[in-house]
């Protein structure tokens, strides 16, 4: 079809000069409002809504002290997920990229987090009434980087076989860990008392609404992941669409989560930026459907419209009012 004839055809659909019938738009909207309100109330009475309580560092350190201390040690030596994340938290990696496009790196470190300092050393330094602890911290900070790494690596290896005692402390086999066990013992006690939740939140000013630090700390460990696995919220469980419990979730995210299930996205270190790029292109295409050849012609070729307008075609044959 030539562009000119397509344009003329499109113009011919601009105005309807055929028949009209009476219609009360405000009454329809009011009835619709009543229907939707009733539906929402009925669904609320039948099912309510989910509200699984949040995890806290206090709970985490009490129920799984081995995982807590292991995570804290990786924060101390920077090998944790956050520690090695890169932008926007630190420069310890370049972040994800597509070919030469490094959006995360270009936008830079806007929310600086030094995991050793922010998650371990600063909270421990606030416990000024423990002189043995303060000495241990000073010993750690004064040691060369290679020595520090030797201590933390050895401790992490031992933690893999450690267990929790009934009192909530750790039983780790003896080894050459330097001051690290003293530091981690105090951090564990501090966390189990509830102090670390608050210390991570109010580090910059009195009023706080930014939960980035405590959330990243917990996400680096297993506490959130273990709950999520039970609720089918993991990425590979199509988790983006799901909700806690048996409630319907964000069903409209089906295409976002779909890409993560298939190659190359499922095995790529740059999966997130790849999926965001694909969805960006598809969202733009969705908005621009009227201008996309083929896609805009499908409704004509697959005539569902004949069902929608069957009364019109039947009642006024040969008349188009156009």
């Amino acid at each position: 079809m030539s562009r000119e004839s397509r344009r003329r055809e499109d113009e011919s659909y601009r105005e309807w000069t055929g028949g009209y019938r009476p219609y009360d738009i405000l009454r329809e909207a009011t009835i619709a409002l009543g229907v939707v309100l009733a539906l929402a109330v009925v669904l609320t009475i039948l099912f309510s809504s989910p509200d699984d309580p949040p995890s806290t560092i206090k709970q985490w350190s009490r129920t799984d002290p081995v995982d807590f201390v292991t995570t804290a040690t990786t924060e101390l030596d920077g090998s944790s997920t956050t520690g090695s994340y890169g932008p926007p938290y630190n420069h310890n990696s370049d972040g994800q990229h597509i070919a030469f496009i490094h959006l995360a790196k270009w936008l830079g470190v806007s929310h600086p987090i030094n995991t050793a300092q922010d998650f371990v050393l600063a909270p421990l330094r606030s416990l000024t009434s423990q002189p043995a602890l303060q000495t241990a911290i000073s010993t750690y900070q004064a040691a060369p980087a290679k020595t520090q790494a030797g201590w933390t690596t050895a401790y992490e290896t031992a933690l893999a076989k450690a267990s929790a005692t009934p009192s909530g402390s750790l039983s780790v086999r003896p080894g050459s860990y330097g001051p690290v066990p003293t530091m981690m013992g105090s951090l564990l006690t501090f966390a189990q008392s509830g102090g670390l939740d608050g210390a991570l939140l109010t580090s910059k000013q009195f009023y706080q609404t930014d939960y980035t630090k405590p959330l990243l700390f917990m996400a680096d460990g297993g506490v959130l992941t273990n709950r999520a696995t039970a609720d089918h919220l993991l990425g590979e469980q199509w988790g983006m669409m799901n909700e806690t419990g048996s409630f319907p979730g964000q069903v409209w995210l089906w295409l976002y989560t779909f890409w993560y299930q298939i190659k190359p996205f499922s095995t790529s270190a740059n999966a997130d930026i790849l999926v965001m790029a694909v969805m960006g292109v598809l969202s733009l295409a969705f908005i621009l459907i009227p201008f996309l050849p083929g896609v805009r012609d499908l409704p004509r070729r697959i005539p569902i419209y004949k069902l929608i307008w069957r009364e019109h075609y039947r009642s006024a044959p040969g008349t188009d009012g156009l």
Binding site: W16, A32, P54
Partner: protein
């Protein structure tokens, strides 16, 4: 009174608005006779779902973000808010399916489609900011997971899902404002352009240059005497 004197902005704006949307177009009391399908109710159902979302959300914001965790009435309104969001997306998607199969962008209605699509695209992050504002485990999980997608795209440098204060501001004010503004533009454009007429059955065969093969002159817009539209008005017929 502006013919030779400097043109008044106010008069120009008023004339333009009234020209595009005269009162009987803005609030019509009739509709084209071809609108005889239940598929046509899903636009208004989406709109009123948005109204219920905003109303229930307003009640939640009256008492602050922590209220609904500790009282039955607070949890009730949270549930209304959650289910009206599910209904909003439910009706909106069925509305867009219907509009796609009707090719509702025809006849200069491209902007109607585009504003509708943008409304959907903006509603998705609006919902996301709501999910991360719940202050429960769901928020913890969604924020720590979805932050990776934001960070990878560079958006995370100024849109921090784990910053509750920022996310709450976006959710309660900025993004609903955007959704409402786009939805209003969409609805005004629908009123301006009217509902898209049906496809002509006797139309182009797809052959180059062929167009409007109906037994008439074939020129768009021109009606031959044999094809005068029959009046389709029946005063006793009320749709609602």
């Amino acid at each position: 009174m502006s013919s030779t004197a400097k043109r008044s902005w106010t008069a120009a704006a008023r004339e333009r608005a009234v020209g595009a949307l005269p009162p009987d177009k803005l609030l019509p009391d009739s509709q084209p006779a071809y609108m005889a399908s239940w598929i046509y109710i899903f636009g208004v159902l989406s709109l009123v779902s948005l109204v219920v979302i905003i109303a229930s959300g307003s009640i939640l914001s009256l008492k602050g973000p922590g209220w609904w965790h500790f009282t039955g009435i607070g949890h009730f309104f949270n549930s209304i808010h959650m289910w009206s969001v599910e209904l909003f997306f439910f009706f909106m998607v069925i509305h867009l399916w219907g509009k796609y199969w009707m090719a509702a962008w025809r006849g200069g209605r491209g902007r109607v489609w585009m504003t509708g699509a943008v409304a959907f695209v903006i509603a998705v992050p609006c919902a996301l900011t709501g999910y991360v504002s719940q202050q429960n485990f769901d928020s913890q999980w969604i924020s720590t997971q979805a932050k990776d997608a934001m960070n990878a795209a560079g958006i995370g440098s100024f849109f921090n899902l784990t910053n509750f204060g920022q996310m709450y501001s976006y959710h309660v004010f900025l993004l609903p404002l955007a959704v409402v503004a786009i939805a209003a533009a969409h609805i005004l454009l629908v009123r301006k352009h009217g509902i898209v007429p049906p496809f002509r059955l006797a139309d182009r065969t797809g052959a180059p240059g062929s167009h409007a093969e109906a037994p008439s002159s074939g020129v768009p817009g021109e009606r031959s005497p044999a094809r005068e539209p029959k009046p389709d008005l029946d005063p006793s017929d009320h749709a609602s």
